[in-house]
């Protein structure tokens, strides 16, 4: 896959916000002193009057966004996933979620691919936290194309939305003419019969790579991309589990409360299946390059391949 284009989804976020603002004058962007890193600095350059830097005060920023939303604006709140969902959890819950306000939260630098900054900034809990808020849509795009689609869909959707973006460049996996995005819809990217690999975010690229290797061993793996973790596409999850009878989930997130848990929630009710959850195994990350970290924690193509092999016995 060496010729595949690689783009960080935070870049997609920054670029798509500009396109969105050109056609939707309600869109405003908020930052907490991280505009360069979240890529909303690009937006600031194009639309200085619609960019509000709140300084290093994320809790207040969530409230500002809520207030703006009550007056009809569509605020995109941008900061690292750690601070958006961790530090400001209760503000998101009470000032945005409870009144069901039309605020979009862009959490960048999610997961361990933050890399060198280390565990303090590597948020592996954001999906879990955001999933618990009633009415919150939670999306984790796999690549540039999906990330841009998420931003557009979020603006169309009435209500709070959390979108997770990454710092590191990741392969474009959705570059095909029939690509269509819809909130709440999962996609089968590769048909298979022996095992289902249900993935989200950068896990999707790793799952596709693993499926290729498994095929060489004579194992037919189905790869399902779940971008919207809430509301999750129950139909596609149940269908693939019924088809293969064996499910593996892949996410750059804690195995507690993320995609793996969401999949288990569905399957335990509708189609009890043994599920192997690949992700951060109740551990903090550490400093290192993104590439070294996904390798160490088994979240790259090789890691997923090995885990699936082991799971299948």
């Amino acid at each position: 896959m060496s010729e595949v284009k690689k783009i960080a989804t935070r870049d997609s976020y920054g670029k798509e916000l500009i396109e969105l603002a050109k056609v939707n004058d309600k869109v405003v962007v908020l930052d907490a002193d991280l505009a360069a890193a979240t890529r909303t600095g690009w937006f600031k350059k194009e639309f200085p009057d619609r960019h509000i830097d709140c300084g290093i005060a994320e809790c207040n920023m969530m409230g500002i966004a809520a207030g703006l939303a009550t007056t009809g604006k569509i605020p995109f709140v941008s900061t690292f996933a750690m601070f958006a969902t961790g530090r400001a959890f209760e503000q998101v819950r009470n000032s945005i979620g409870y009144p069901h306000l039309n605020v979009k939260i862009g959490g960048t630098h999610a997961g361990i691919t933050v890399g060198e900054d280390g565990a303090s900034h590597q948020c592996n809990e954001d999906i879990a936290l955001m999933r618990t808020i009633p009415g919150m849509v939670v999306m984790c795009p796999a690549d540039d194309i999906e990330a841009r689609a998420c931003v557009r869909a979020a603006a169309e959707h009435e209500g709070p939305v959390y979108i997770r973006f990454g710092r590191a460049a990741c392969p474009v996996v959705n570059d095909r003419p029939d690509y269509k995005f819809e909130i709440g819809k999962g996609t089968v990217l590769r048909e298979g019969t022996d095992v289902s690999i249900i993935a989200t975010g950068i896990g999707v690229g790793a799952a596709l790579e693993a499926a290729e290797k498994l095929a060489a061993d004579g194992i037919s793996a189905e790869v399902v991309n779940i971008c919207t973790i809430k509301p999750i596409d129950r139909e596609v999850v149940v269908a693939t589990a019924k088809k293969t009878g064996k499910v593996v989930t892949v996410e750059e997130h804690s195995v507690i409360g993320g995609l793996g848990s969401a999949v288990c929630d569905v399957l335990s009710e509708e189609c009890p299946t043994v599920v192997k959850k690949i992700g951060m195994q109740d551990k903090f990350g550490e400093s290192g390059s993104a590439g070294d970290l996904v390798k160490k924690y088994g979240l790259d193509g090789d890691g997923v391949y090995s885990s699936v092999k082991e799971f299948l016995g």
Binding site: R50, G55, C59, N60, A65, G67, T70, N94, P99
Partner: protein, 277 residues
């Protein structure tokens, strides 16, 4: 509106507070009563609001940052005509629009849901900022408790409002001096309150929270203040109007029993009679 008329309405608001909390057998009478005159002035004199048109985009906004004093807000809204006064006795009950803390999902006319302390002032900043972005004239008001300002988020918001020169924002601090665990200067003192807001580039006005001349003058001064948000530090008496609740921390979040309710209503009836002259 004459002061006497405002005083009469405020007394009715106080009756509504006591009645609602008594019916609910729970709630926060102390801080609702201390802010009753401020509530009354805001809804009957200061704010451009119409109960028949609660979604008007050009209306003034109010955020009850100290959301636990919802009985005060509900009572003044009922007096203003947002809903029947009789509905106050549904407070906190299953199926009621009058949730324990204000919820805009339940009650039309509320500009924001609140209750978790320190958050409402940030939302009010967002509303005021929106008016600035759109060159609109509406003003935003938010009421905070003096214990509430111990929350760090209040000062994040104050920094933002001062820096952004939100002169369409008025922050009112109901300085009744008491919080759940005791007098605020013995729990974790936020004093000096006025100097803190001044340091965050607010125009600050100290007033007697129960003197309508002072209240009127303060809000007028706030309107005339340009380039700075205004903070009104309203020095109040917790439990104001009900003899046995006045200045008593125990009445922060406790409902009167039937006997106490009768005394409270008698106190307020007496005040009402005196106002009738």
């Amino acid at each position: 509106m004459e002061n006497l008329e405002l005083q009469k309405i405020a007394n009715e608001v106080r009756k509504g507070i006591v009645t609602a909390v008594h019916a609910a057998k729970a709630g926060h009478p102390g801080g609702s009563l201390s802010a009753a005159d401020i509530f009354t002035y805001l809804y009957f004199e200061e704010m451009n609001v119409d109960p028949k048109d609660p979604k008007n985009p050009d209306r003034d906004r109010f955020v009850l940052s100290k959301g636990h004093t919802a009985p005060g807000l509900y009572s003044v809204m009922a007096q203003k005509g947002y809903f029947p006064v009789e509905e106050l006795t549904t407070l906190r009950k299953l199926g009621s629009r009058l949730q324990g803390h204000p919820s805009m999902q339940y009650l039309p006319g509320l500009d924001m849901s609140s209750g978790s302390l320190g958050q409402g002032i940030s939302v009010a900043c967002g509303m005021a900022l929106s008016a600035k972005l759109d060159n609109k004239d509406y003003r935003t008001y938010t009421l905070l408790g003096d214990g509430e300002i111990e929350e760090g988020q209040v000062w994040e918001a104050a920094m933002f409002a001062g820096f952004r020169k939100l002169d369409n924002l008025v922050v009112i601090v109901d300085n009744n001096g008491l919080q759940i665990d005791g007098p605020i200067d013995q729990v974790c003192s936020p004093y000096p309150i006025d100097k803190k807001f001044e340091a965050f580039n607010f125009h600050v006005i100290n007033i007697d929270a129960h003197d309508f001349d002072a209240i009127r003058a303060a809000f007028k001064e706030a309107r005339e203040t340009k380039g700075q948000p205004t903070a009104i530090i309203a020095h109040s008496l917790k439990g104001k109007g009900v003899s046995f609740m006045e200045g008593q921390v125990a009445w922060h979040g406790v409902a009167p029993n039937d006997e106490e309710y009768a005394i409270a209503m008698a106190d307020l009836e007496k005040i009402g009679k005196e106002l009738e002259g």
